[in-house]
């Protein structure tokens, strides 16, 4: 049975695409046949972060419109086995997607025995975001430690509860995971950002992981490589922990403590 996971947030620029790329890559590395779908029609981004932008021929909209087959559209990752990318279209507008069309694509992926289908949602709470979350079995709510992001996450949780397929069919609700991204413990300590405890208290859903704010993310995306492949970096390790938890392992949360100033820094302020 394929499991469908949407990565969503409401607010833009919080790290959904970064997260989708790393989660999909990490799952594939562990041997699961995984497909990551870019639902951000008109603003495709995922293929850049996955470093496969030059290999895009057909896209999700072609597939939905039955202008290309699944085999023609899926891009097989060059670095990691079992990993496939379904890119978004850069030219079409958001209305090109329909629930029936997306349902057909999901059905084909299931027939092809994918273990995981990761849906990278566009920002907002409009049609595009609703389309990305409609078929989800689980949701990774990507949240930055600021009030506006937490508030948007709360709204998206409401939409998952009332407008997802599972909600409409009265099935078991979508399983919710909180992923706090771009976490900067120093700024939390200075009171400029919400703490992990604040966010968990406000949203009241289980914490999947904390991804620290890290220069490595920018470097990785410039190199067209999901940051999880950089296992030296904090962010890469944090994504690895998150995947372990997604698969049911227990791991303590890391990267929550503010950096202690070094001896010299303490001496000289």
């Amino acid at each position: 049975m394929s499991k469908i996971i949407v990565v969503t947030s409401g607010k833009g620029g919080v790290g959904k695409t970064t997260t989708s790329a790393s989660i999909a890559t990490g799952l594939a590395q562990r041997g699961f046949k995984t497909c990551v779908i870019d639902f951000d029609v008109g603003l495709r981004n995922l293929d850049l972060i996955m470093g496969c932008e030059r290999r895009v021929v057909y896209d999700l909209v072609n597939l939905v419109n039955q202008e290309a087959s699944l085999q023609q559209t899926l891009i097989k990752d060059k670095r990691v086995d079992n990993l496939y990318i379904l890119p978004a279209s850069q030219t079409r507008d958001k209305d090109a997607l329909t629930i029936e069309g997306v349902a057909r694509v999901i059905h084909k992926l299931k027939q092809n025995e994918f273990d995981y289908i990761i849906c990278d949602s566009p920002a907002g709470i409009e049609k595009g975001a609703k389309m990305a979350l409609y078929f989800a079995d689980e949701a990774i709510i990507t949240t930055n430690p600021e009030v506006s992001s937490v508030r948007d996450s709360d709204r998206i949780l409401g939409i998952l509860q009332s407008e997802s397929r599972r909600a409409k069919m009265d099935e078991e609700p979508v399983k919710e995971h909180l992923l706090i991204t771009r976490y900067n413990p120093n700024r939390v300590q200075e009171g400029q950002m919400l703490s992990v405890d604040d966010i968990v208290d406000l949203l009241a859903i289980p914490l999947l992981g904390i991804i620290p704010e890290s220069q490595a993310v920018l470097e990785a995306s410039n190199a067209g490589k999901p940051v999880i492949l950089d296992d030296e970096s904090n962010a890469g390790q944090a994504y690895n922990d998150a995947i372990a938890r997604l698969l049911g392992e227990e791991r303590p949360h890391r990267f929550m403590e503010a950096q202690k100033k070094g001896f010299l820094k303490r001496l000289f302020g």
Partner: protein, 248 residues
């Protein structure tokens, strides 16, 4: 689709919100409407209503065009007017289909409203028609919500109590004809006794609400005593004074 008639006439009973008019002064009506709508803007937006003119139908001074405009300005959709006498001045002048009171009578203050769209559990609130064409509103059982109510969501417990086991996020609206109980933090709006029950109360474990209201008497966040924030509290009406006090 083929083989089926393009249209079909069917009988049906619907519960509707009714707006009872007690004044002929446009300013007074506007002020009252504004207060009502402000309490729960999401709830009233584009809600179909019946305008109950019976208290003022024999007053020729009532400007029904102006009334309809006001109702429209506040985003309500008037679909009919209700009167006792179809030949009264208001009944003749209003540009709406007119229902007379021979039909079902709206129960004193217990106007009934449409069930919300967002995830509230259905409550058995089907009105029963008794002799004399009077609707008896059965008291509905409690509406129990086991998941958190999120920003932008609204739950309306029609005819009964509302029990929320989780939290109500900022921007969430909890509405009930009777009491409201919230066991998680109450961060959104809570409006109890919305159809006029002045005995309704709000009980919560952690008061962080944006607004609380009992039978239309409300207080926003700024007027909630600071020492009660985050504390267990109850909110009730003492005459027309809204009391917010610690639950001990």
């Amino acid at each position: 689709m083929s083989g089926q008639a393009a249209v079909e006439l069917k009988g049906g009973m619907y519960t509707l919100l009714s707006l009872q008019i007690h004044s002929i002064e446009a300013d007074a009506i506007e002020l009252a409407l504004k207060n009502k709508v402000q309490q729960a803007p999401g709830f009233f937006k584009e809600t179909p209503i019946v305008i109950d003119l019976s208290p003022v139908e024999h007053m020729p001074e009532l400007d029904t065009d102006k009334l309809l405009q006001l109702v429209k300005d506040y985003n309500l959709v008037a679909i009919a007017a209700r009167v006792n006498d179809k030949s009264s001045p208001a009944a003749c002048s209003i540009k709406l289909p007119v229902l007379d009171a021979g039909g079902p009578r709206a129960d004193k203050s217990a106007d009934t409203a449409e069930q919300d769209k967002d995830g509230a559990k259905d409550t058995p609130a089907t009105p029963e028609l008794t002799s004399g064409g009077v609707i008896d509103m059965p008291v509905a059982g409690p509406t129990i919500v086991t998941r958190p109510v999120r920003s932008g969501q609204q739950v309306y417990a029609q005819g009964g109590e509302l029990v929320v086991l989780g939290q109500a996020g900022p921007g969430a609206e909890l509405i009930a004809d009777s009491n409201i109980h919230v066991y998680g933090p109450l961060r959104g709006r809570a409006l109890c006794g919305v159809t006029g029950n002045t005995d309704a109360r709000i009980f919560c474990r952690s008061l962080e609400a944006e607004l609380v209201s009992v039978a239309g008497n409300y207080k926003p966040l700024e007027e909630i005593p600071a020492d009660l924030k985050g504390k267990p509290a109850q909110i009730w009406l003492d005459g027309d004074r809204l009391v917010i006090e610690a639950l001990k």
